[in-house]
Point group: C3
C-alpha cells in the first residue's frame, strides 16, 4: 500500500499520550522493527522485541508508555497505552483508502435484469450481471464483473469482490465477504453409472452462506443435490478450497487454503483444518476438531480431536509413529543382528 502520511497526520490518528523526537519523513509503509527503513512506521507490540527498537530505522515508532529509550535523529516516538491497538487504528484508516466505499447505485456498464431488485443503498459495479428475480440488500457491494444468478439473494453489507459468481437461488446472508473469483453454487458432482456411461444426477439444491462468513479467492462451493449446502455463521474459508454438495459447515470454523470437503459431510462448530487437508464424504467432524496440513480424514471424529497424517491419526500418536518410522533402518539392523545371534 503506497500511502504518505505526515508525522502530524499519524499523530492525529494515534492520539498518543506523549511523543519524543521528530522526523521530516512522511510515513509510506508499515514494517517490523528489524526490517523497517526510513519512511516506515513500526511498533513495539511484543515486549520480546524491546531490544530491536534502538536499532530500528523506522521514522515513526509506536511504543508503550513505559518504554525507556530515546529516539534517534530524525525519528519520532509516539507513546501509547497499547501499540497494537494504535497500529490497528492506522491500518483501519489505510484500509479505507485501499477500498473506499463505492457510491451506491448501478454502474451504467452493469446489466441488471428488469425483475431484479437492487436496494438504493447497494452498489452494483461495472460489468456486473444480475439476473431475473435476484436481490441485492442495503449496503452490499458487487464490486465489478460479478455474476448474481436468477433469484439469488445477497443480504445487507456484503462485499463481493471482482469476478465472484453466485449461482441461481443461492443466498448470502449479511456481512458476507467473497474474495475475487469465488464460485458459489456450482453443480454438485453426482452421476449414476448406467450402461457404461455416467448420467448426471440433477443438482437442484442451493448454497446458504450465513452471516459474517468470508471466503477466499477462487474457492468453489457446490449447490446441494437437493436441500442446501450450508456455511455456518462466522466461518472463514481461505483460497482454492472445495466444498462439495450437501456439506454442512458449522459456525466459526477455519478452513485453510486448498482444503477439500467431500459431499454430504458435516463439520460441527469450531472445526479447524490446515492447508491441503482432505475430508471424505458422508462423515461428521465433531465440534472443535483440529487437523494439520495435508491430513486425510475418512471417518467420523469425536469432538475436540486433534489429528494429523493420512490416514488421520491422533496428533501425539502420529508424531510418535513418525519418529519410529524414521528409525526403521535401525530396527531392521537390530532384527538382523538378533537373527545372526540365534542362527
Amino acid at each position: 500500500m503506497q500511502v504518505a502520511y505526515t508525522p502530524d497526520e499519524i499523530t492525529a490518528i494515534v492520539a498518543p499520550q506523549r511523543s519524543a523526537g521528530a522526523t521530516t519523513e512522511k510515513v509510506r509503509d508499515i514494517a517490523s522493527l528489524s526490517t523497517a527503513r526510513a519512511g516506515d512506521l513500526s511498533f513495539l507490540g511484543n515486549p520480546k522485541y524491546r531490544n530491536e527498537v534502538a536499532a530500528s530505522a523506522a521514522s515513526v515508532i509506536l511504543v508503550p508508555q513505559d518504554y525507556a529509550g530515546e529516539p534517534q535523529a530524525n525519528q519520532l516516538f509516539l507513546f501509547v497505552d497499547n501499540p497494537s491497538v494504535a497500529l490497528a487504528r492506522i491500518c483501519a484508516r489505510i484500509e479505507q483508502l485501499l477500498w473506499p466505499r463505492p457510491a451506491a447505485g448501478v454502474h451504467p456498464t452493469a446489466f441488471v435484469a428488469p425483475g431484479a431488485k437492487v436496494d438504493p443503498r447497494a452498489t452494483v459495479g461495472p460489468l456486473c450481471v444480475v439476473e431475473e428475480g435476484a436481490n441485492v440488500g442495503a449496503g452490499s457491494v458487487l464490486q465489478a464483473s460479478v455474476f448474481l444468478g436468477r433469484n439469488g439473494r445477497v443480504g445487507e453489507n456484503c462485499w463481493v469482490q471482482p469476478g465472484g459468481i453466485i449461482g441461481a437461488e443461492c443466498v448470502l446472508q449479511n456481512r458476507v465477504r467473497l474474495q475475487p473469483g469465488v464460485v458459489v453454487g456450482s453443480d454438485g458432482f453426482g452421476y449414476e453409472f448406467v450402461k457404461g456411461r455416467h448420467e448426471k444426477v440433477p443438482q437442484i439444491g442451493i448454497v446458504i452462506i450465513e452471516d459474517d462468513v468470508e471466503i477466499g479467492a477462487n474457492s468453489t462451493l457446490d449447490r446441494a443435490r437437493f436441500s442446501r449446502t450450508v456455511i455456518g455463521e462466522g466461518t472463514k474459508i481461505d483460497n482454492l478450497v472445495q466444498v462439495g454438495h450437501n456439506v454442512i459447515i458449522g459456525k466459526h470454523c477455519i478452513l485453510c487454503a486448498q482444503v477439500g470437503i467431500s459431499g454430504s459431510t458435516t463439520l460441527e462448530d469450531y472445526v479447524v483444518l490446515g492447508g491441503q487437508a482432505g475430508v471424505g464424504g458422508h462423515i461428521t467432524l465433531g465440534k472443535g476438531t483440529k487437523a494439520g496440513g495435508q491430513t486425510g480424514i475418512a471417518f467420523d471424529t469425536p469432538p475436540g480431536s486433534y489429528l494429523n497424517g493420512t490416514p488421520a491419526t491422533p496428533y501425539m500418536t502420529e508424531r510418535r509413529l513418525q519418529v519410529l518410522h524414521q528409525k526403521l533402518p535401525d530396527l531392521f539392523k537390530r532384527v538382523e543382528y538378533l537373527e545372526q545371534k540365534l542362527k
Copy 2:
C-alpha cells in the same frame, strides 16, 4: 431451490398409481425422510429406510406400491412403481425452473467480433467476448461473462456457465458442460533452463473436449505444447482439477475435486481418481485404474489397478501396511524385549 408446488401440481407431475391422505401444505423443498419438515417432499427410495416413513414430517411422501403404512394428519402419500424415478421427474421439472433455457441470440452487452459465427439457435449472454474466427454451434449457451478466444469452437448444445474461459483454437464438441470459472487452454508449464533463467517453451497446441464431458468450477486444462490435450467422451471432472499439457484422458473417466495430472500423461478409459490425487508426468494409467483420495501415482499402472497412498500401492497391501505402521510402537517394544533376553 425455493419452489412452491401445490399437492395437485406434484400429483400431476408424478402421475401416481394411487394416493392416500391429503395435505394443505405447498411443497417448497425436498429432503430425506428423517430431516424433512412440513412443506418438504420426501421419498422411500431404499427399503432400509422403510421404518423412517412413519415418523417423517414431510408433507408429501413418494412410496412404493407395496408400502403398507398410513399417512399422518395433513400428509399425502403418492404410491408409485419407483419412488426414485418419480423423484427424478420432479427434479427435472425444478431444474428447468432453476436454469430455464435462455432465448437464442446475442445479448446487446456481449462483444462478438465481426468474423465470429454464432448459430442463430445459440445464446451468447450478457458481457461475453467472442473473438475473431470463433464459432458457437446450435443450441449452445455461453451464459454470461464467458470468453471464447480466436478460432475457438463450441459445438452443439454445450453450456458454458459464467466466467468460463476457452482459449484460442480450443474445441468443445457437443453437449459439453463447463461449470463456472473453468479455464480451457491455458499455456502448458514448459521452460528450458538456460544461463540461470527459465526460458518459455512456446505452447502452441490446443485442447479438445469431446462429447458429453462435464468440467467442474475453476478447473484448469492446459493446451498442448504442440498437438493436443484431450478430454475423452463422457468424462466427468470435478472442481479445482488441474490437467497438464498433452495429457490424454480417455472416455468415461471420473476425476474428483483437486486432482492434478502432470503433463504428457495418459489415462485410459474408465479411470477413477479420488479427491486431491496427484499423477506424475509421462506415464499411463491402464483402463479402469482406481485410486483413493490423496494418492500419489508416479508410475504406469496396469488395467484394473486399485491404488492408495503415496507412493501409490495396491489397495489391500496399503491397508495392511497401514495397520502394521500403527503397530510400530508395539514392534519396537517386542524387539527391545528380545534384545534384553539375549543380552
Copy 3:
C-alpha cells in the same frame, strides 16, 4: 492449433542447409516422429529417436545435417544444424498466429476510470475494468474481462489473459504474464480469535510481481498484512497455486501446479516445488531447495536440500524408508519367528 503452411513456406521459415524429397501436403500440425500422420511436421531433436525417422508418417521432417536416411514418397526432409532450434522458429511463427499482438488502445466496451492512465501503446481489451489511479505501461495487454484495481500498476510489455484480477495497489513489473483467471492481491487469511469469534485482521499490504514472472491459470496470490508479498524475478508458477500473505519468493523459482505456500514464508532463489507440495508458514527454504510432488515441508531447509514425503525428508532417506515400509509384513514375521524360537 489449426494451421496450414505449404512446404515452401516451411522451407522459408526454417532456411535449411539442404533438403531431400518433396510433399504435396500442407503442414497442419506438429507431432512426434512416432505419432505423426500425413500433414504433420516432425523433427529429430534427440539422437535416440533416430530409428523412428524411417517409419514416420510425417510429411515434413527436420533432421540434423549428418542424418543419413532417405525420405519416403511424398515426404520432405529439411537438413538443419539444430532441428530443435528450427522447430522453435516454426513454433514462434505459429505463436504469433495464435496470439497476434492486439492493436493498441482501449476497447469501447472496457471501463477505464477517468483518473487511470493507459499508455497509448498499451491495449485494454473488451470488458476490462481499470479503476481510479491505475496505470498500464507501454506494450502491455489486458486481453479481455481483466480487472485492475485502484492505483494498481502494470509495467511494460506485460500480458494479462482473460479474467485476470489485479487488486488495488498491487504491482506487476515488466514482461509479466498472467494466465487466465489469476487473482493477485486477495486478502491474506488473518483473524484473531476474540470471544468465540474470528475477527478479521486488516490486510493492507500489496503484492509485487517482478520482471519476467509467469503465473498459471486460477492461481491466487494474497496481499501482505502490511508491507508486501513478493514474487521474484523470473519465477514461474503453474496453475491453481496458492501463495499466502507476506510470502517472499526469490528469483527463478519453479512452483508446479496446486502447490500451497503458507503465510510469511520465504523461498530463496532457484527453489523448485513439485505438484501439490505444501509449505508451512514462517519458515525459509534455502537456495535451490527441491521437493517432490505432495511433499509437506514444515521446517527451514538448508540450501540445496532435496526433499520428499510428509514430513519432508531428504530424498535418499525417504526412498530408503519407503522400501523398508513396504517390507514391514516381512519384518513382523521375522520378529514373530524370533519370539517363537526364544519362548
